[in-house]
Symmetry: C2
Subunit: 197 residues, 2 copies
């Protein structure tokens, strides 16, 4: 009943994360109602991004040139390296415009339940970067979740003996939060990490 | 900071309905993590669907051949025509497997607030189909909303004088509903449309 090119398009769209059959159908009809140049621009952008983007050989961020813009930027402090799970976390940190160091993208977090061990992440590559002796501090910016904490602890155990300072993002109340509604774990972390005024 | 092919891809994805910057970013990274053939299949499906699909010249459903499969199907009752706003509504009705007639897609609903008048819909084309004298009943299957009701009333006024039976989908309680939680308008409609047992 549904013409083949339409059902094929809906099938392909359903493969995207968070896109179910209903959303895929809505997207497909939106595309059919768009002009042909608009549709071709979208399809072109998809193929072009996939073809030209790769990982920076230094920090493993997504980039179209190697080393990436962040690694090449001489205004950035190469002695300070922020370790993140993936490029999305890197982009979130960059949006703060606060961090002036460089990055290292692990490509995931240690998660034995999902079969992801330290060897599946770019930890070896991080240790190689440390060998140069140029790096003074590693900021571990993984999520404050079970897997994020496990990865941070693993890295601390590995890197501390090398004499490099290793820090972790602060945990506590998010800005604008209400003490009354804060969960116990966050509040405990906020107490534990209290700072002198 | 974001490489150009990636920001271009995110921009293009943000143009899709219901896709904000965060969703676009998640979709973009998903595509970058997919294999090149997978990505090309998606891009190809988008362009192919846009290039091959058009409107059936009879019922204005989306189709890759003209007339469409539904209009060509001799097992379908051509004397019974169901009028819908768009192909998505047609697909919803087809999923019931209950309707054995043919369709007519208006391409929208009368909505003066959005600047959509009867002349913007395929009402002239519906009247042309009625001229053949073959059609015995028109089932108006527009949403039970202000615009859907307005369109149904407009069609009734136009078609009744031609001596063609014109009906409307029943309004009432949806299956599995709870009387206690039903809204007043639906309940009034259910009372009004009560049927003898």
């Amino acid at each position: 009943m549904v013409p083949e090119p339409l059902s094929k398009l809906i099938d392909e769209l359903t493969k995207l994360p968070g896109v179910g059959p209903k959303t895929a159908q809505r997207l497909a009809f939106h595309l059919l109602e768009s002009s042909e140049p608009e549709v071709e621009t979208l399809a072109g952008a998809i193929v072009h991004a996939k073809k030209t983007l790769k990982h920076c050989s230094l920090c493993f961020n997504v980039t179209d040139k190697d080393p990436c813009g962040l690694c090449q930027d001489i205004k950035r402090d190469a002695s300070l390296v922020c370790v993140v799970a993936d490029p999305k976390d890197l982009m979130a940190l960059e949006r703060t415009r606060e961090f002036k160091g460089t990055f290292h993208v692990l490509g995931g977090l240690i998660s034995p339940l999902d079969g992801v061990g330290p060897d599946d992440l770019r930890i070896r590559e991080l240790l190689l970067r440390l060998e140069s002796g140029q790096i003074k501090e590693i900021v571990v910016a993984t999520n404050p979740s079970a897997t994020g904490e496990a990865t941070a602890l693993y890295l601390a155990k590995l890197i501390k003996p090398l004499g490099v300072k290793i820090t972790r993002l602060a945990c506590g109340l998010p800005m604008g939060a209400d003490l009354e509604y804060a969960d116990e774990v966050t509040l405990s972390k906020a107490l534990e990490g209290r700072r002198e005024l």
